[in-house]
Symmetry: C2
Subunit: 234 residues, 2 copies
């Protein structure tokens, strides 16, 4: 814990760390399964949609627009082309609703980020769609607390190495806070940094990870973002 | 011309400045009009699609995925929901082809960028989809010539002001090179910088602009990117 307490730069993930995201996707998944329930059971719909998303990830990247296109493709496939156009239009509208959804901060985020920003340098590091993530940062009311906002196509070890170099941050002086072991914690630990994992009740299949690199004293799991200031000695 | 010659930092737009883009969209538009030709004439298709794109721009931002979603929505609207699902799937595939399209550099770009990069600090400044633009930068073979690559959701005056501040560039020492008067030239001239307009044979309706701010000695129109090294005294 000693190491973490002295980290001068704190990185925050955004989706499901600062604000709700996966719950919005999950509600859309429910409507999607209902729309296709005359054709297939929920398991088949879930499995096929996930497979389409994974196949398209390289081309589409993360975010709502790619999800919507994958959902349309899957619906056509699962109905053997029998889905009527007005139901496809409903999928387009579901995607649009997601993009227009209000930004709902997680409990404790506003106070915690404000408190830490007075004492540490804060970076917001998120992957996904540039337009949508920019919108969410703006609507969150948190932008002024962050020294830098970086939206990147992928959050892996080389991304973090580049970002930290670009901002002149020594990995050993860096603590990353996020809900995804795969995107927020593992790559930072591998670089010699610290990670604070704050699990979200839902995790997208693609973000699941079983093993972390060994990082004695550099990794902690928190029940809430509210546990962060005490961890930093604030 | 004297001012421009001494600019220490040169910004390059990407789509239709470094590599072909609008020609790819135009080929897709042709196939789109053909697909809908049983329902409406080309003018109506063009006009309705453009209106949908403009209405969705705030939510979708720029790029192929948003274009594909707007094309699907427009096709459903223009056929009163009668378009069959397999034709919608064809639109999804057209979008995918655009995302997988090889990056084709404009004539003279490879040599010119290589030549200037030895003598000036080079920034690549592009708007659009993060995943797709990142892919194109990587595939272009030009990345190593640029000191920084910035992909932003919009290229307006405040974006340029922020980017130049972030990279410690005095606007008076900055020359922006691009095909769009609206996104590449006008905002930079307004900040006191220089602009070199290299028109592309096709211009998307949204990028058209009639008037530039007065900028005596700070604006030039070039026939080709090859005219840039002489402009810089190289």
């Amino acid at each position: 814990m000693g190491l973490m307490q002295h980290c001068g730069t704190i990185g925050f993930d955004a989706d499901d760390t600062l604000w709700h995201n996966e719950t919005i996707f999950e509600r859309v998944h429910e409507q999607y399964r209902a729309l296709l329930s005359n054709y297939h059971n929920a398991d088949t719909v879930n499995r096929t949609l996930f497979a389409t998303e994974m196949r398209n990830l390289e081309l589409y990247g993360y975010g709502v627009k790619g999800f919507t296109l994958s959902a349309i493709e899957t619906a056509i496939q699962l109905t053997d082309g029998k889905i009527p156009a007005d139901e496809i239009q409903r999928l387009v509208m579901l995607g649009r609703d997601m993009l227009a959804h209000p930004v709902e901060l997680l409990d404790g985020v506003a106070e915690t980020v404000a408190q830490i920003s007075g004492a540490r340098r804060l970076l917001l590091l998120t992957k996904g769609d540039l337009r949508d993530q920019t919108r969410k940062v703006e609507k969150s009311g948190l932008a002024a607390h962050f020294d830098e906002v970086e939206i990147v196509p992928e959050k892996d070890e080389s991304t973090y190495a580049n970002l930290l170099r670009r901002h002149g941050v020594d990995p050993a002086d860096f603590l990353m806070v996020g809900n995804s072991l795969k995107s927020d914690i593992a790559p930072v630990l591998a670089l010699g940094g610290c990670g604070a994992h704050v699990p979200y009740p839902l995790t997208w299949g693609h973000e699941k990870l079983d093993d972390l690199p060994p990082a004695p004293g550099r990794f902690v799991e928190l029940g809430s973002v509210r546990d962060l200031p005490p961890l930093l000695g604030l």
